[in-house]
Protein backbone atom coordinates (compact mmCIF):
# COMPACT_ATOMS: atom_id res chain seq x y z
CA UNK A 1 0.00 0.00 0.00
CA UNK A 2 1.02 3.58 -0.59
CA UNK A 3 -0.62 6.04 1.75
CA UNK A 4 -0.37 9.53 3.15
CA UNK A 5 0.32 9.20 6.82
CA UNK A 6 -0.09 11.68 9.63
CA UNK A 7 2.49 11.82 12.35
CA UNK A 8 0.90 11.24 15.73
CA UNK A 9 4.06 11.65 17.78
CA UNK A 10 7.82 11.75 17.36
CA UNK A 11 9.86 11.46 20.51
CA UNK A 12 13.55 11.28 21.24
CA UNK A 13 13.75 8.16 23.38
CA UNK A 14 17.52 8.26 23.86
CA UNK A 15 20.08 10.76 22.53
CA UNK A 16 19.87 10.47 18.73
CA UNK A 17 17.14 7.81 18.74
CA UNK A 18 13.53 8.63 17.92
CA UNK A 19 10.30 6.73 18.13
CA UNK A 20 7.62 7.91 15.74
CA UNK A 21 3.97 6.93 15.66
CA UNK A 22 2.04 7.39 12.43
CA UNK A 23 -1.47 6.80 11.17
CA UNK A 24 -2.11 3.96 8.71
CA UNK A 25 -5.00 2.39 6.84
CA UNK A 26 -6.65 -0.48 8.75
CA UNK A 27 -5.11 -3.05 6.38
CA UNK A 28 -1.70 -2.36 7.90
CA UNK A 29 -2.76 -4.33 10.97
CA UNK A 30 -2.10 -7.36 8.79
CA UNK A 31 1.62 -6.60 8.50
CA UNK A 32 3.92 -9.38 9.69
CA UNK A 33 6.73 -8.76 12.14
CA UNK A 34 9.94 -8.14 10.17
CA UNK A 35 8.27 -6.30 7.33
CA UNK A 36 9.35 -2.75 6.68
CA UNK A 37 8.17 0.57 5.31
CA UNK A 38 9.67 3.06 2.87
CA UNK A 39 9.00 6.69 3.71
CA UNK A 40 9.43 9.70 1.48
CA UNK A 41 11.07 12.01 3.94
CA UNK A 42 10.08 15.21 2.19
CA UNK A 43 7.94 15.77 -0.86
CA UNK A 44 11.04 17.39 -2.36
CA UNK A 45 14.08 16.09 -4.17
CA UNK A 46 16.46 16.27 -1.23
CA UNK A 47 16.72 13.59 -0.04
CA UNK A 48 15.69 12.02 -3.32
CA UNK A 49 15.12 8.41 -2.40
CA UNK A 50 12.76 6.94 0.15
CA UNK A 51 14.23 5.66 3.38
CA UNK A 52 13.49 2.15 4.73
CA UNK A 53 12.58 1.46 8.37
CA UNK A 54 11.46 -1.64 10.16
CA UNK A 55 7.99 -1.77 11.65
CA UNK A 56 8.51 -1.35 15.39
CA UNK A 57 4.87 -1.88 16.22
CA UNK A 58 1.39 -1.81 14.77
CA UNK A 59 -1.80 -1.18 16.69
CA UNK A 60 -5.14 0.53 16.91
CA UNK A 61 -6.20 3.44 19.04
CA UNK A 62 -9.79 3.48 20.16
CA UNK A 63 -11.36 6.86 20.04
CA UNK A 64 -12.32 8.30 23.43
CA UNK A 65 -15.68 9.15 21.94
CA UNK A 66 -17.98 6.17 21.54
CA UNK A 67 -19.13 5.67 17.97
CA UNK A 68 -16.07 7.33 16.42
CA UNK A 69 -14.44 3.96 15.87
CA UNK A 70 -10.74 3.27 15.99
CA UNK A 71 -7.67 4.22 14.03
CA UNK A 72 -4.74 2.09 12.96
CA UNK A 73 -1.22 3.28 13.65
CA UNK A 74 2.29 1.97 13.31
CA UNK A 75 5.57 2.94 14.87
CA UNK A 76 9.15 3.13 13.76
CA UNK A 77 12.23 3.45 15.91
CA UNK A 78 15.09 5.20 14.19
CA UNK A 79 18.55 6.53 14.74
CA UNK A 80 19.62 9.86 13.27
CA UNK A 81 22.57 9.08 10.99
CA UNK A 82 22.20 11.40 7.97
CA UNK A 83 20.02 13.91 6.24
CA UNK A 84 16.96 11.72 5.85
CA UNK A 85 16.74 10.70 9.48
CA UNK A 86 17.63 14.23 10.53
CA UNK A 87 14.72 15.58 8.51
CA UNK A 88 12.45 12.93 10.03
CA UNK A 89 13.46 13.96 13.53
CA UNK A 90 12.19 17.49 12.79
CA UNK A 91 8.65 16.34 12.13
CA UNK A 92 5.89 17.14 14.57
CA UNK A 93 2.47 15.87 15.44
CA UNK A 94 0.15 16.62 12.54
CA UNK A 95 2.79 16.66 9.80
CA UNK A 96 2.37 14.32 6.86
CA UNK A 97 4.62 11.88 5.07
CA UNK A 98 4.12 9.49 2.18
CA UNK A 99 4.58 5.85 3.16
CA UNK A 100 4.74 2.54 1.34
CA UNK A 101 4.04 -0.41 3.60
CA UNK A 102 4.19 -3.22 4.40
CA UNK A 103 7.15 -4.36 2.31
CA UNK A 104 9.26 -7.49 2.22
CA UNK A 105 9.05 -10.88 3.81
CA UNK A 106 8.85 -10.98 7.59
CA UNK A 107 9.83 -13.52 10.22
CA UNK A 108 8.59 -17.06 10.33
CA UNK A 109 7.05 -17.56 13.77
CA UNK A 110 8.28 -21.14 14.05
CA UNK A 111 7.20 -23.90 16.37
CA UNK A 112 5.26 -22.42 19.34
CA UNK A 113 6.63 -25.03 21.66
CA UNK A 114 10.24 -23.94 21.22
CA UNK A 115 11.80 -21.07 23.05
CA UNK A 116 12.46 -18.00 20.90
CA UNK A 117 15.69 -16.13 21.28
CA UNK A 118 15.75 -12.57 19.98
CA UNK A 119 19.07 -10.81 19.53
CA UNK A 120 19.22 -7.11 18.79
CA UNK A 121 22.03 -4.61 18.38
CA UNK A 122 21.41 -0.89 18.72
CA UNK A 123 18.55 0.29 16.57
CA UNK A 124 18.38 -3.26 15.21
CA UNK A 125 15.83 -3.95 17.90
CA UNK A 126 13.27 -2.04 15.81
CA UNK A 127 11.62 -5.03 14.07
CA UNK A 128 12.12 -7.27 17.12
CA UNK A 129 9.60 -5.51 19.32
CA UNK A 130 6.67 -6.26 17.05
CA UNK A 131 8.05 -9.77 16.67
CA UNK A 132 8.31 -10.23 20.42
CA UNK A 133 4.81 -8.93 20.96
CA UNK A 134 3.54 -11.48 18.43
CA UNK A 135 5.64 -14.38 19.70
CA UNK A 136 4.85 -14.05 23.40
CA UNK A 137 1.28 -14.99 22.65
CA UNK A 138 2.43 -18.49 21.81
CA UNK A 139 5.98 -19.05 22.93
CA UNK A 140 8.52 -18.34 25.59
CA UNK A 141 10.71 -15.42 24.44
CA UNK A 142 14.10 -14.22 25.63
CA UNK A 143 15.70 -11.06 24.38
CA UNK A 144 19.43 -10.36 24.20
CA UNK A 145 20.19 -6.75 23.59
CA UNK A 146 23.62 -5.28 22.85
CA UNK A 147 25.00 -1.85 22.13
CA UNK A 148 28.12 0.24 22.28
CA UNK A 149 27.11 2.15 25.35
CA UNK A 150 24.16 2.81 27.65
CA UNK A 151 22.51 5.30 25.27
CA UNK A 152 22.30 2.65 22.54
CA UNK A 153 20.18 0.35 24.71
CA UNK A 154 16.59 1.16 23.92
CA UNK A 155 13.13 0.06 25.03
CA UNK A 156 14.19 -2.51 27.65
CA UNK A 157 11.13 -1.69 29.71
CA UNK A 158 8.85 -2.16 26.72
CA UNK A 159 10.23 -5.65 26.10
CA UNK A 160 10.04 -6.56 29.77
CA UNK A 161 6.46 -5.36 29.93
CA UNK A 162 5.64 -7.99 27.31
CA UNK A 163 6.92 -10.62 29.71
CA UNK A 164 10.12 -11.13 27.75
CA UNK A 165 13.18 -11.95 29.77
CA UNK A 166 15.75 -9.39 28.71
CA UNK A 167 19.55 -9.53 28.92
CA UNK A 168 21.68 -6.48 28.22
CA UNK A 169 25.34 -6.13 27.40
CA UNK A 170 27.30 -3.08 26.34
CA UNK A 171 30.79 -2.83 24.89
CA UNK A 172 31.80 -0.41 27.63
CA UNK A 173 29.85 -2.00 30.45
CA UNK A 174 27.78 1.13 31.15
CA UNK A 175 24.63 -1.01 31.14
CA UNK A 176 24.26 -4.74 31.76
CA UNK A 177 27.23 -7.00 31.21
CA UNK A 178 30.39 -5.68 29.64
CA UNK A 179 31.10 -7.37 26.31
CA UNK A 180 29.22 -8.92 23.46
CA UNK A 181 25.62 -9.87 23.99
CA UNK A 182 26.12 -12.72 21.57
CA UNK A 183 28.50 -14.37 24.05
CA UNK A 184 25.86 -14.15 26.75
CA UNK A 185 23.35 -15.63 24.35
CA UNK A 186 25.58 -18.50 23.31
CA UNK A 187 26.12 -19.39 26.92
CA UNK A 188 22.36 -19.49 27.47
CA UNK A 189 21.81 -21.75 24.48
CA UNK A 190 24.52 -24.15 25.53
CA UNK A 191 23.50 -24.25 29.18
CA UNK A 192 19.80 -24.59 28.50
CA UNK A 193 20.20 -27.26 25.87
CA UNK A 194 16.54 -27.35 24.70
CA UNK A 195 15.65 -26.55 21.04
CA UNK A 196 15.27 -22.91 20.19
CA UNK A 197 14.87 -20.56 17.28
CA UNK A 198 17.06 -17.50 16.88
CA UNK A 199 15.92 -14.14 15.50
CA UNK A 200 18.52 -11.43 15.00
CA UNK A 201 18.67 -7.88 13.76
CA UNK A 202 21.56 -5.48 14.12
CA UNK A 203 24.91 -4.54 12.64
CA UNK A 204 26.62 -7.00 10.28
CA UNK A 205 29.34 -8.15 12.72
CA UNK A 206 26.65 -9.09 15.23
CA UNK A 207 24.62 -10.94 12.60
CA UNK A 208 27.73 -12.83 11.57
CA UNK A 209 28.40 -13.80 15.16
CA UNK A 210 24.79 -14.94 15.56
CA UNK A 211 24.90 -16.93 12.33
CA UNK A 212 28.09 -18.53 13.52
CA UNK A 213 26.53 -19.54 16.84
CA UNK A 214 23.48 -20.85 14.97
CA UNK A 215 25.71 -22.98 12.81
CA UNK A 216 27.81 -24.24 15.71
CA UNK A 217 24.82 -25.03 17.90
CA UNK A 218 22.64 -26.23 15.00
CA UNK A 219 19.94 -23.73 15.98
CA UNK A 220 17.47 -22.49 13.37
CA UNK A 221 18.12 -18.79 12.86
CA UNK A 222 16.52 -15.91 11.02
CA UNK A 223 18.30 -12.63 10.46
CA UNK A 224 16.93 -9.30 9.28
CA UNK A 225 19.30 -7.47 6.96
CA UNK A 226 19.76 -3.89 5.87
CA UNK A 227 20.87 -2.70 2.45
CA UNK A 228 20.91 0.55 0.51
CA UNK A 229 17.56 0.59 -1.30
CA UNK A 230 16.03 2.57 -4.12
CA UNK A 231 12.67 0.96 -4.90
CA UNK A 232 11.88 -1.41 -2.04
CA UNK A 233 9.87 -3.66 -4.33
CA UNK A 234 12.34 -5.87 -6.11
CA UNK A 235 12.57 -3.82 -9.28
CA UNK A 236 15.85 -1.89 -9.21
CA UNK A 237 18.07 -4.76 -8.01
CA UNK A 238 20.08 -2.31 -5.98
CA UNK A 239 19.72 -4.01 -2.61
CA UNK A 240 20.94 -7.51 -3.32
CA UNK A 241 23.00 -9.73 -1.02
CA UNK A 242 24.88 -12.87 -1.81
CA UNK A 243 22.85 -16.02 -1.44
CA UNK A 244 24.24 -19.29 -0.14
CA UNK A 245 25.30 -20.57 -3.53
CA UNK A 246 27.01 -17.41 -4.67
CA UNK A 247 30.37 -17.53 -6.34
CA UNK A 248 31.86 -15.53 -9.17
CA UNK A 249 30.84 -18.27 -11.57
CA UNK A 250 27.48 -19.17 -10.07
CA UNK A 251 26.14 -15.83 -8.97
CA UNK A 252 23.23 -16.01 -6.59
CA UNK A 253 21.90 -12.62 -5.55
CA UNK A 254 18.79 -12.10 -3.42
CA UNK A 255 16.85 -8.89 -3.01
CA UNK A 256 16.87 -7.71 0.59
CA UNK A 257 13.69 -5.77 -0.10
CA UNK A 258 11.65 -8.56 -1.66
CA UNK A 259 13.24 -11.91 -0.77
CA UNK A 260 14.08 -10.43 2.65
CA UNK A 261 14.75 -8.43 4.71
CA UNK A 262 14.40 -11.59 6.80
CA UNK A 263 16.41 -14.60 5.68
CA UNK A 264 17.22 -17.86 7.36
CA UNK A 265 20.93 -17.78 8.03
CA UNK A 266 21.55 -20.73 5.74
CA UNK A 267 20.05 -18.91 2.74
CA UNK A 268 22.96 -16.49 2.78
CA UNK A 269 26.62 -16.51 2.03
CA UNK A 270 28.59 -15.41 5.11
CA UNK A 271 32.10 -14.39 4.16
Amino acid sequence: MQFRSTIISNQEVSPGYFRMRLTAPPELSGASPGQFIMVRVRDAIDPLLRRPFGIFDVGTIKSEFPGLGSATYFEILYKVVGKGTEALSDYHHGDHVDVIAPLGAGFDLGDPAEEKILVGGGVGIAPLYYLARTLVQRSRVRFFLGGRTRDDILCVTEFERLGVETYVATDDGTLGDRGLVTDVMERHIREDGRPKTLYACGPMPMLKAVADIARRTATPCQVSLEAYMACGMGACLGCVVKGKGHSDDTPDYRCVCKDGPVFTFDQLKWV
Partner: protein
Protein backbone atom coordinates in the same frame (compact mmCIF):
# COMPACT_ATOMS: atom_id res chain seq x y z
CA UNK B 1 -14.20 20.86 -23.62
CA UNK B 2 -13.83 17.17 -24.36
CA UNK B 3 -10.86 15.31 -22.91
CA UNK B 4 -7.59 16.09 -24.67
CA UNK B 5 -6.08 13.40 -26.86
CA UNK B 6 -2.95 12.01 -25.26
CA UNK B 7 -2.37 9.15 -27.65
CA UNK B 8 0.82 8.95 -29.65
CA UNK B 9 2.22 6.43 -32.06
CA UNK B 10 5.87 5.47 -31.90
CA UNK B 11 7.04 3.59 -34.93
CA UNK B 12 3.75 1.75 -35.20
CA UNK B 13 3.24 1.15 -31.48
CA UNK B 14 0.05 2.89 -30.44
CA UNK B 15 0.34 4.35 -26.94
CA UNK B 16 -2.64 5.60 -24.97
CA UNK B 17 -0.39 8.34 -23.65
CA UNK B 18 3.25 9.29 -24.10
CA UNK B 19 4.45 8.07 -20.68
CA UNK B 20 6.47 4.87 -20.61
CA UNK B 21 8.42 3.39 -17.73
CA UNK B 22 12.18 3.32 -18.30
CA UNK B 23 14.14 0.10 -18.44
CA UNK B 24 15.60 -1.09 -15.16
CA UNK B 25 13.43 1.13 -13.01
CA UNK B 26 10.15 -0.76 -13.24
CA UNK B 27 11.24 -4.37 -13.11
CA UNK B 28 9.04 -6.42 -15.43
CA UNK B 29 5.92 -4.43 -14.59
CA UNK B 30 4.50 -6.91 -12.11
CA UNK B 31 6.58 -5.54 -9.23
CA UNK B 32 4.71 -2.23 -9.48
CA UNK B 33 1.25 -3.57 -10.21
CA UNK B 34 0.12 -3.13 -6.62
CA UNK B 35 0.94 0.57 -6.66
CA UNK B 36 0.07 1.78 -10.11
CA UNK B 37 -2.67 0.92 -12.55
CA UNK B 38 -0.63 -0.53 -15.40
CA UNK B 39 -3.53 0.15 -17.76
CA UNK B 40 -2.90 3.89 -17.42
CA UNK B 41 0.69 3.78 -18.68
CA UNK B 42 1.74 4.39 -22.27
CA UNK B 43 4.11 1.45 -22.42
CA UNK B 44 6.15 -0.74 -20.10
CA UNK B 45 9.81 -1.19 -20.94
CA UNK B 46 11.37 -4.22 -19.34
CA UNK B 47 14.62 -4.51 -17.46
CA UNK B 48 17.43 -5.07 -19.99
CA UNK B 49 17.49 -8.68 -21.17
CA UNK B 50 20.44 -10.78 -22.24
CA UNK B 51 20.65 -14.20 -23.84
CA UNK B 52 21.72 -15.88 -20.64
CA UNK B 53 20.86 -14.80 -17.08
CA UNK B 54 23.30 -12.20 -15.85
CA UNK B 55 24.43 -11.76 -12.26
CA UNK B 56 25.28 -8.10 -12.36
CA UNK B 57 27.83 -6.29 -10.23
CA UNK B 58 28.84 -6.76 -6.62
CA UNK B 59 27.29 -4.47 -4.02
CA UNK B 60 26.95 -1.63 -3.13
CA UNK B 61 25.20 -0.91 -6.38
CA UNK B 62 23.37 2.33 -5.72
CA UNK B 63 24.06 5.66 -4.09
CA UNK B 64 22.00 8.79 -3.81
CA UNK B 65 23.65 11.99 -5.04
CA UNK B 66 22.44 15.58 -5.10
CA UNK B 67 19.24 15.54 -7.12
CA UNK B 68 20.01 12.14 -8.54
CA UNK B 69 21.36 8.66 -7.97
CA UNK B 70 24.17 6.48 -9.22
CA UNK B 71 23.56 2.86 -10.12
CA UNK B 72 25.88 0.09 -11.13
CA UNK B 73 23.47 -2.82 -11.21
CA UNK B 74 25.52 -4.32 -13.97
CA UNK B 75 22.50 -5.39 -15.98
CA UNK B 76 21.50 -8.24 -13.67
CA UNK B 77 18.57 -9.96 -15.36
CA UNK B 78 16.82 -13.26 -15.60
CA UNK B 79 17.77 -13.90 -19.22
CA UNK B 80 15.47 -14.34 -22.19
CA UNK B 81 14.30 -17.86 -21.33
CA UNK B 82 13.15 -17.01 -17.84
CA UNK B 83 11.63 -13.83 -19.23
CA UNK B 84 9.43 -15.86 -21.52
CA UNK B 85 8.54 -18.39 -18.84
CA UNK B 86 8.17 -16.23 -15.76
CA UNK B 87 7.47 -12.68 -16.85
CA UNK B 88 5.53 -12.83 -20.10
CA UNK B 89 2.51 -14.65 -18.61
CA UNK B 90 1.84 -11.71 -16.33
CA UNK B 91 2.50 -9.14 -19.05
CA UNK B 92 -0.02 -10.94 -21.24
CA UNK B 93 -2.75 -9.94 -18.77
CA UNK B 94 -2.04 -6.24 -19.33
CA UNK B 95 -3.21 -4.44 -22.46
CA UNK B 96 -0.40 -1.86 -22.22
CA UNK B 97 2.28 -2.39 -24.89
CA UNK B 98 5.44 -4.06 -23.64
CA UNK B 99 8.77 -3.05 -25.11
CA UNK B 100 11.69 -5.37 -24.42
CA UNK B 101 14.96 -3.66 -23.64
CA UNK B 102 17.97 -5.85 -24.34
CA UNK B 103 21.72 -5.91 -24.82
CA UNK B 104 24.49 -8.21 -25.92
CA UNK B 105 28.23 -8.43 -25.92
CA UNK B 106 28.60 -8.89 -29.66
CA UNK B 107 26.69 -7.95 -32.79
CA UNK B 108 25.70 -11.61 -33.14
CA UNK B 109 24.27 -11.74 -29.63
CA UNK B 110 22.23 -8.62 -30.29
CA UNK B 111 20.88 -10.17 -33.49
CA UNK B 112 20.10 -13.47 -31.82
CA UNK B 113 18.20 -11.75 -29.02
CA UNK B 114 16.27 -9.65 -31.51
CA UNK B 115 15.28 -12.81 -33.32
CA UNK B 116 14.13 -14.45 -30.10
CA UNK B 117 12.12 -11.38 -29.11
CA UNK B 118 10.64 -11.17 -32.58
CA UNK B 119 8.84 -14.43 -31.89
CA UNK B 120 7.18 -13.27 -28.66
CA UNK B 121 3.75 -11.89 -29.52
CA UNK B 122 3.48 -10.00 -26.20
CA UNK B 123 6.49 -7.89 -27.15
CA UNK B 124 5.28 -4.85 -29.09
CA UNK B 125 8.74 -3.58 -29.89
CA UNK B 126 12.34 -3.73 -28.80
CA UNK B 127 14.67 -1.16 -27.32
CA UNK B 128 18.36 -1.78 -27.89
CA UNK B 129 20.57 -0.72 -25.03
CA UNK B 130 23.84 0.22 -26.68
CA UNK B 131 24.63 2.63 -23.92
CA UNK B 132 24.91 0.94 -20.59
CA UNK B 133 28.08 2.23 -19.02
CA UNK B 134 28.44 -0.49 -16.43
CA UNK B 135 29.65 -3.43 -18.41
CA UNK B 136 33.26 -3.74 -19.23
CA UNK B 137 32.91 -5.84 -22.32
CA UNK B 138 30.78 -4.87 -25.26
CA UNK B 139 28.02 -2.42 -24.43
CA UNK B 140 29.94 0.77 -24.09
CA UNK B 141 31.75 0.66 -27.44
CA UNK B 142 28.50 0.31 -29.37
CA UNK B 143 27.18 3.38 -27.63
CA UNK B 144 30.05 5.71 -28.27
CA UNK B 145 31.28 4.74 -31.72
CA UNK B 146 28.92 5.56 -34.60
CA UNK B 147 30.24 2.76 -36.80
CA UNK B 148 29.77 0.14 -34.11
CA UNK B 149 26.30 1.52 -33.40
CA UNK B 150 25.44 1.30 -37.07
CA UNK B 151 26.45 -2.33 -37.32
CA UNK B 152 24.58 -3.47 -34.23
CA UNK B 153 21.41 -1.59 -35.18
CA UNK B 154 21.63 -2.96 -38.71
CA UNK B 155 21.92 -6.51 -37.43
CA UNK B 156 18.95 -6.07 -35.11
CA UNK B 157 16.97 -4.41 -37.86
CA UNK B 158 17.45 -7.46 -40.05
CA UNK B 159 16.54 -9.85 -37.25
CA UNK B 160 13.14 -8.47 -36.38
CA UNK B 161 10.15 -6.90 -38.02
CA UNK B 162 9.06 -5.38 -34.71
CA UNK B 163 9.68 -1.68 -34.17
CA UNK B 164 13.29 -1.07 -33.17
CA UNK B 165 14.12 1.71 -30.72
CA UNK B 166 17.77 2.51 -30.07
CA UNK B 167 18.65 3.92 -26.68
CA UNK B 168 21.53 6.37 -26.82
CA UNK B 169 24.25 7.05 -24.30
CA UNK B 170 24.86 10.67 -23.30
CA UNK B 171 28.55 10.03 -22.69
CA UNK B 172 29.59 11.21 -26.12
CA UNK B 173 31.01 14.33 -27.69
CA UNK B 174 28.43 14.41 -30.44
CA UNK B 175 25.05 12.84 -29.79
CA UNK B 176 23.76 13.84 -33.22
CA UNK B 177 26.41 11.79 -34.95
CA UNK B 178 25.29 8.76 -32.95
CA UNK B 179 21.66 9.47 -33.79
CA UNK B 180 22.46 9.69 -37.48
CA UNK B 181 24.29 6.38 -37.44
CA UNK B 182 21.28 4.67 -35.86
CA UNK B 183 18.83 6.34 -38.23
CA UNK B 184 20.98 5.27 -41.16
CA UNK B 185 20.80 1.72 -39.92
CA UNK B 186 17.00 2.05 -40.09
CA UNK B 187 16.13 2.31 -36.44
CA UNK B 188 12.46 3.16 -36.08
CA UNK B 189 12.95 5.47 -33.13
CA UNK B 190 15.59 6.73 -30.73
CA UNK B 191 15.34 6.99 -26.97
CA UNK B 192 17.65 9.15 -24.89
CA UNK B 193 19.30 9.57 -22.52
CA UNK B 194 20.69 6.60 -20.71
CA UNK B 195 22.72 7.43 -17.60
CA UNK B 196 25.75 9.75 -17.41
CA UNK B 197 28.81 8.00 -16.06
CA UNK B 198 29.63 9.22 -12.59
CA UNK B 199 31.26 8.25 -9.34
CA UNK B 200 30.84 8.65 -5.60
CA UNK B 201 33.52 8.39 -2.95
CA UNK B 202 33.34 7.48 0.70
CA UNK B 203 35.80 9.83 2.36
CA UNK B 204 36.06 7.88 5.63
CA UNK B 205 36.71 4.58 3.94
CA UNK B 206 38.82 6.16 1.16
CA UNK B 207 36.98 3.94 -1.26
CA UNK B 208 34.50 4.37 -4.10
CA UNK B 209 30.98 3.96 -2.75
CA UNK B 210 30.01 1.61 -5.56
CA UNK B 211 31.73 -1.74 -5.79
CA UNK B 212 31.94 -1.13 -9.54
CA UNK B 213 33.78 2.19 -8.87
CA UNK B 214 31.73 4.11 -11.44
CA UNK B 215 28.00 4.06 -12.06
CA UNK B 216 25.27 5.69 -14.09
CA UNK B 217 23.78 8.99 -12.95
CA UNK B 218 20.03 9.45 -13.33
CA UNK B 219 17.29 11.60 -11.86
CA UNK B 220 16.39 15.28 -11.96
CA UNK B 221 20.07 16.29 -11.77
CA UNK B 222 20.58 15.13 -15.37
CA UNK B 223 17.42 16.63 -16.82
CA UNK B 224 19.10 19.72 -18.37
CA UNK B 225 21.60 17.51 -20.22
CA UNK B 226 18.84 15.17 -21.40
CA UNK B 227 16.66 18.02 -22.59
CA UNK B 228 19.53 19.50 -24.55
CA UNK B 229 20.36 16.19 -26.24
CA UNK B 230 16.74 15.43 -27.09
CA UNK B 231 16.44 18.88 -28.64
CA UNK B 232 19.63 18.40 -30.68
CA UNK B 233 18.65 14.94 -31.89
CA UNK B 234 15.00 15.67 -32.64
CA UNK B 235 16.04 18.50 -34.94
CA UNK B 236 18.55 16.30 -36.70
CA UNK B 237 16.64 13.11 -37.45
CA UNK B 238 13.28 12.31 -38.99
CA UNK B 239 12.44 9.29 -36.83
CA UNK B 240 10.60 9.76 -33.52
CA UNK B 241 12.58 10.53 -30.41
CA UNK B 242 11.68 9.38 -26.90
CA UNK B 243 12.83 11.71 -24.13
CA UNK B 244 14.33 10.29 -20.93
CA UNK B 245 16.17 11.85 -18.01
CA UNK B 246 14.97 13.21 -14.71
CA UNK B 247 11.30 13.41 -15.59
CA UNK B 248 9.38 13.83 -12.34
CA UNK B 249 6.21 15.67 -13.37
CA UNK B 250 3.83 16.34 -16.21
CA UNK B 251 5.58 19.66 -16.75
CA UNK B 252 8.93 17.90 -17.19
CA UNK B 253 7.39 15.47 -19.68
CA UNK B 254 5.80 18.25 -21.73
CA UNK B 255 9.09 20.16 -21.80
CA UNK B 256 10.68 17.10 -23.41
CA UNK B 257 7.87 17.00 -25.94
CA UNK B 258 8.37 20.67 -26.79
CA UNK B 259 12.04 19.85 -27.31
CA UNK B 260 10.95 17.32 -29.92
CA UNK B 261 10.19 14.09 -28.09
CA UNK B 262 7.17 12.14 -29.31
CA UNK B 263 6.99 10.26 -26.02
CA UNK B 264 8.90 10.04 -22.75
CA UNK B 265 10.19 7.51 -20.28
CA UNK B 266 10.10 7.84 -16.52
CA UNK B 267 12.89 6.16 -14.58
CA UNK B 268 14.17 7.25 -11.18
CA UNK B 269 10.82 8.88 -10.40
CA UNK B 270 9.30 5.39 -10.06
CA UNK B 271 11.39 4.86 -6.94
CA UNK B 272 10.19 8.02 -5.24
CA UNK B 273 6.63 7.48 -6.28
CA UNK B 274 5.67 4.05 -7.63
CA UNK B 275 2.63 5.63 -9.29
CA UNK B 276 4.79 8.26 -11.01
CA UNK B 277 4.02 7.25 -14.60
CA UNK B 278 0.28 7.30 -14.00
CA UNK B 279 0.48 10.60 -12.13
CA UNK B 280 2.60 12.20 -14.85
CA UNK B 281 0.14 11.18 -17.55
CA UNK B 282 -2.68 12.68 -15.48
CA UNK B 283 -0.74 15.89 -14.95
CA UNK B 284 -0.11 16.14 -18.68
CA UNK B 285 -3.78 15.70 -19.40
CA UNK B 286 -4.65 18.35 -16.82
CA UNK B 287 -2.21 20.80 -18.36
CA UNK B 288 -3.63 20.26 -21.83
CA UNK B 289 -7.14 20.72 -20.51
CA UNK B 290 -6.27 23.86 -18.57
CA UNK B 291 -4.61 25.35 -21.61
CA UNK B 292 -7.18 24.31 -24.18
CA UNK B 293 -4.82 22.07 -26.10
CA UNK B 294 -6.85 19.34 -27.78
CA UNK B 295 -4.02 17.02 -28.71
CA UNK B 296 -0.67 16.44 -27.04
CA UNK B 297 0.86 15.88 -30.47
CA UNK B 298 0.50 19.63 -31.09
CA UNK B 299 3.31 20.15 -28.61
CA UNK B 300 5.86 17.80 -30.18
CA UNK B 301 8.77 19.95 -31.27
CA UNK B 302 6.71 23.10 -30.78
CA UNK B 303 9.55 24.91 -29.05
CA UNK B 304 10.12 28.37 -30.48
CA UNK B 305 13.79 29.24 -30.61
Amino acid sequence: MSKPDLSVNIAGIALRNPVMTASGTFGYGEEFSEYVDLETIGAIITKGLSLRPKAGNPTPRIQETTGGMLNAIGLQNVGIDAFVEQKVPFLRTVSTPVIANFFGNTVEEYAELAERLDRIPEVAGVEINISCPNVKHGGIVFGTDPKAAYSVVKAVREATIKPVIVKLSPNVTDIVEMAWACADAEADALSLINTLTGMAIDLKKRRPVLANVTGGLSGPAVKPVALRMVWQVARAVKIPVIGIGGIMSGTDALEFMLAGASAVQVGTANFLDPAAAQRIATEMEQYLEDNGIADVKELIGALEV
